[in-house]
Symmetry: C3
Subunit: 153 residues, 3 copies
């Protein structure tokens, strides 16, 4: 089964790869390394359903869903870069940023929204290193931002 078929079997669909918010590109490759720009939780219709701070405007569960949507947009960029998700050799690193208040301590649980998706989707190839931190503010006031570094064939 292709990775995209697997994604469908999980009830998910690749959204259109979002256009960058500014003067950069959504991915850059050097040799076997593919770098995916930080993705915000933009829905397929272009809207931003997760705006505000996790732990205040949004619950931790909503933060998890926001991180999952960021990761889905990363996948859309990987597809745009490589033509097929099957060319992913390994998700190497996820950088996860959580818009939160002082004292919020569950960035790992929130960013699991991204990690759970790629681990379920890619299996062993989805197991990645990660840094998850809390930020005072994020672009467009979104709840989460996720970037990825990917090894490709």
């Amino acid at each position: 089964m292709s990775i995209e078929d697997k994604l469908k079997s999980m009830g998910l669909e690749l959204p259109p790869a979002p256009a960058p918010a500014a003067n950069y590109v959504p991915f850059a490759r050097e040799g076997s390394l593919l770098i995916i720009a930080g993705q915000v939780p933009r829905a397929a219709d272009g809207s931003l359903p997760y705006v505000g701070k996790v732990g205040r405007e949004l619950t931790e569960q909503q933060g998890y869903e926001a991180a999952r949507l960021c990761a889905l947009n990363c996948l859309a960029q990987i597809k745009a870069a490589l033509g097929s998700l099957d060319r992913v050799k390994r998700i190497l690193r996820i950088g996860g940023f959580v818009n939160c208040l002082e004292g919020f301590a569950n960035q790992p649980e929130v960013i699991n929204g991204a990690s759970d998706l790629v681990v379920e989707l890619f299996g062993e190839r989805g197991k990645h290193a990660r840094a998850a931190v809390g930020n005072i503010a994020l672009p467009r006031n979104v709840a989460t931002e996720v970037e990825m570094t990917v090894a490709v064939d």
Copy 2:
């Protein structure tokens, strides 16, 4: 025209490569990857003209100029690492950090100060992936910090 001549034609000059603020080095290379340490907006005379939060002490336009100055210092480090900016194959990634208040949502516009510079200077080779986030505080209370990952010949 060399990249440095192009930089001059843009009215800019490489500053002296700033010494690190602490016990690290300004760049490290492995194979074709060159990693540039986070640069603050230090002027050629050593002063820090952009101190404070974007959106309070500093306008968004000043934040943009701060990010541009960070990127100019990254270029100075690339020159120090490679001997010539012409050896840049591709700017792969920019990490941009903005010192801001809660609710500030225009990190993309601020970090464009760095992105616009490298895209204008290097053309296609300057097109990079990027992550831009908001931070509660940055070293020396500067407005922006910018790091780069570069592919080199």
Copy 3:
């Protein structure tokens, strides 16, 4: 003298490599690049001795010690990944995150806790590029988080 013997001569010992806090792995390798996941200041007995903000609950010196402990945990992960610290070719990059208040400006001095350790331990091979920033919150409310990118033989 092996790097581990050197570490012992510095009065330090590798802790058990901490298990990840969530659904990710502590390291991922591609070619000569080894990426170490963000490590928190977890002591060998599993406790978290540095909780709170540097500059409020914790002094800058305690922040330095927290960053040193994060780096020690990174070393434990490198050992787990490679079998021996002697296979480190170069510490390429440290990413350092400091849990702090607005206006705290000494992230470089805090993250030196990590940098001083690897420079003393590895000598020339320990000299790394670095980005150090201030965050509103970190996982488990710890004072610092440190990630590393390492070149390996």
